[in-house]
Symmetry: C2
Subunit: 145 residues, 2 copies
């Protein structure tokens, strides 16, 4: 769990470095991404902004999420059903555990992944640049119901 404030500042800094303007809408999107525990979708971000920015358009959310992603400050999680969700806390590849019932996403700690990447590179002759690892199942909450 990184500090939301720290993440927010770090993303803002990156934007400044690359000469992007800091509009209220943009800052609001960053704020949500920086403090998101739940890996929000664009739609979710949009919904959360309706109170403070009732006239803000979905296109603006998309544009800002894309921009921040292109700066490498968030991780995009695209799924087969077409839904995309974003992790603003850890912009580097890491495993996710996803509840197929309530769609909660959490980040487990896994040590053995680095070795696996090496193993794959050796076996396939690829130069491995990144990876994606998701586990799908039922969380304890949903199991109890």
């Amino acid at each position: 769990m990184s500090d939301p404030k720290e993440r927010f500042d770090s993303i803002v800094k990156k934007l400044k470095e690359n000469d992007h303007k800091l509009t209220p809408q943009r800052l609001a999107v960053i704020k949500i991404l920086a403090q998101s525990e739940g890996h929000p979708s664009v739609e979710k971000i949009y919904d959360q902004l309706q109170d403070d920015f009732p006239t803000m358009s979905l296109a603006t959310v998309y544009r800002n999420v894309m921009l921040i992603k292109s700066l490498g400050e968030i991780l995009e999680l695209g799924f087969a059903d077409g839904s995309n969700r974003y992790d603003g806390n850890r912009p580097y590849p890491h495993p996710h555990v996803i509840c197929i019932q309530c769609h909660k996403i959490i980040d487990p700690d896994l040590s053995s992944l680095r070795d696996m990447t090496k193993e794959v590179a050796a076996e396939t002759g690829f130069e491995i640049l990144t990876h994606r690892l998701d586990f799908f199942g039922i969380c304890s909450n949903c199991m109890a119901e």
Copy 2:
């Protein structure tokens, strides 16, 4: 590498068991999926069918791929950019190595994955049902160019 003929028969059998009709179009889709080394997209399957079935529609390919997927006989690989590709050889979850340049997909052998699933279950309290593991990089062919 499973035997394409065997895979074909096994999918056909599953369809019969579930009272689905065996149309020429359907069998042609199955044939391509069963012998696919390259994890084809729907579009790719459609293209390959144009010679033998010039009037066949994309919708039919989609419907058949969906049907076979719903019977658990192919694995769907959806990507963040919206592209979907299908593995008709190994319909169970397994790792993939994907070249980001030529989009080739190959299946490496990785032993340590089962242990990892257990580790995740223990740490998160989830009941893990399936997973998805992709490595992205540059294949040796593309590196040479």
